[in-house]
Amino acid sequence: MSLNSDQNYGALWLLTPTVLLYLATFLFPLILLGVLSFAKFEASITTLGFYFDNYIKIFSDGITLKIFFQTVRLSIYITFWCLILGYPVALLMRSCSPKIKMILLFCVVSPLLTSIIVRNVAWLLILGRSGMINDTLIQWELISKPLPLMYNEFGVILAVVHVYLSFMVLPLFGALSSINSSIEEAASSLGAPFWRVFLSITLPLSLPGIMAGCTLVFILSMGVYLTPVIMGGNFILTLPMLITESVREQYDWPYASAMALMLLLAIGFMVVLSSGLQRLVSRR
């Protein structure tokens, strides 16, 4: 046995607890999920077997697929707004002093340090019918009745973007920081205006960061649950909400398992697509 393969075994031994943990908490439940998704649920009783009823229902009941695409659409909106709002922040972080950089970083990460309930209740106080914004606008006589700022898609997107912005900014900041600034300086010194430098150098070189950030935010958004429940007033339905409802109210584990696997496959597809695009970008 060569020294190298011996070293590999040494590394394997160190991995044992992690592998065991993953087997017990990820792989085993995943197998259970797969088995359950082919079970049948009738008259409140689950029968194990190999039935395709749940998968057929997903594509034929006229609602699950619709909600799935609604979830994808919501995730795309969230990802888009995170990118639009996050890119300037990452650019600014790259160019400012270390002290300002730390302050910006703290601002971006701070929503993650707050409890989800506290955060959403804070949004109620800001966006509610008698919230800060509506009260101020009414006092200034700019509006006569409160604007519908929450319990709708706008409220959900705003609250989710607020949290997931950090998952966009951090990879973007990493990608932007790795760009050799002398290339941009050279372009500027040769007379290229700021927007040209940005479009021809900064943006293309930051594409790996954009891809990573978009993938992260999209995947997280596909699984978002509590914020749409609170901020959407239950009017905005996402697939995770449907899965929870199926388990909690109908006790229909088989159907919930099939939907969960569908969600997992969609996310897996997104990851594969994203890594393919990243390879394409890095080759260019």
Binding site: L3, D6, Y9, P17, L124, L125, W253
Partner: protein, 358 residues
């Protein structure tokens, strides 16, 4: 040299052995704790609700029992008003329910019965049943916490006091009302009561009336705490709600009242059952016998929910709050078909979701 010795020592077989040893090592404390917990007859595991009802349980139903019987109670906090029976089912099938008692809504009792999740209680161990109304006793345990689903409204902003569910559809309250998404079966039955005079069937016509209401709705709230928040923030002036919460909010100074519409309202209760395979059924029987007694039940009446105990006396204010002790009001109570609720739940939920996303 040192590296060579280490590398010689780590072979494939060693890795596998280490993995097994690590697995056993990691799981030993868990099995030790489980075995210890199951062997202690003085420990009982219970669910508790969040919010004010949970505080009530702790203060009046758990603490005094612990002190009187010198037992230790461990609590698992519930989110919302329903025990996650799907989780309990998985635990029971694995032979380890996490608690010794579980409060079940009536549709959950049917689900538990069909799936053999609850033990039948031994009535001889619950002598307090003799002071309980017959309809409050089931083979799985006593019914407790009688609550009503009626109309909660802001007394300053809704005038005159509503007597019909149809007031929810009144254009003057558009954008100021909400209905419940949690326990949506009640909401659907309410729409039927308002417009069809009977809670069933839930069909396209039901959803047509809901669609008429939709422009007026601020939110579809999930739990009582959400509705409470909507009232507190001034988002709504009216919603179908449960009476106990209204009593509590009125006690805190909110100008709220609970109305029982003349088209009918619903009365529900929870059955406290013992999960199959519970570790301490003896202590569970003990608690059930104690808690359905006049003392603990009177406390619940003071809180705002009704009781099946014949010995509990109500002050006029308590009688008004609990609703169920007033025969005149109870004339309007409509009984629900929980088999139908359970069996049609999936279909109703699909229709509800289609309506929501339409």
């Amino acid at each position: 040299m040192k590296k060579t010795i280490i590398n010689k020592g780590i072979k494939r077989r060693t890795v596998i052995k280490s993995a097994i040893a690590a697995g056993v090592g990691l799981s030993t404390p868990y099995f030790f704790v489980q075995a210890h917990a199951s062997s202690d007859p003085k420990v009982m595991n219970m669910y508790n609700f969040d919010g004010s009802l949970g505080e009530f349980y702790t203060e009046h139903w758990y603490k005094p029992f612990q002190e009187k019987f010198d037992v230790k109670m461990n609590f698992i906090k519930l989110k919302g008003s329903r025990v996650p029976l799907e989780k309990v089912q998985a635990q029971i099938n694995a032979g380890k329910p996490e608690t010794d008692l579980m409060p079940m809504h009536q549709d959950q009792v049917i689900f538990a019965e069909r799936n053999n999740l609850a033990m039948e209680v031994d009535a001889s161990k619950i002598p307090e049943f003799s002071n309980y109304y017959e309809k409050g006793i089931t083979k799985y345990g006593p019914k407790m916490v009688l609550w009503c689903y009626g109309l909660a409204y802001n007394t300053e902003l809704v005038k005159p006091a509503p007597t019909s569910w149809k007031v929810l559809w009144d254009p003057q309250y558009a954008g100021k009302v909400a209905v419940n998404e949690g326990l949506k079966d009640q909401c659907l039955q309410m729409v039927n009561l308002a417009w069809k005079g009977s809670p069933y069937p839930v069909d396209a016509e039901t959803f047509k009336h809901l669609s008429d209401l939709r422009p007026s709705l601020v939110a579809l709230w999930s739990g009582g705490a959400d509705a409470e928040q909507l009232f507190r923030n001034g988002e709504i002036v009216m919603t179908p709600f449960w009476n106990g919460r209204v009593t509590k909010l009125r006690g805190e100074g909110l100008p709220l009242k609970f109305a029982t519409p003349t088209e009918g309202f619903f009365v529900r209760s929870s059955v406290y059952g013992i999960p199959r395979g519970a570790r301490n059924p003896e202590m569970a029987h003990e608690w059930l016998n104690w808690v359905i007694g006049a003392g603990p039940q009177k406390k619940m009446v003071e809180y705002g929910y009704g009781t099946f105990n014949k010995l509990v006396e109500h002050t006029p204010e308590e009688a008004a709050n609990v609703i169920v002790s007033d025969p005149e009001v109870m004339k309007y109570a409509v009984s629900e078909d929980f088999n139908q609720i359970l069996d049609n739940g999936k279909e109703w939920t699909d229709m509800w979701n289609k309506w929501k996303s339409s």
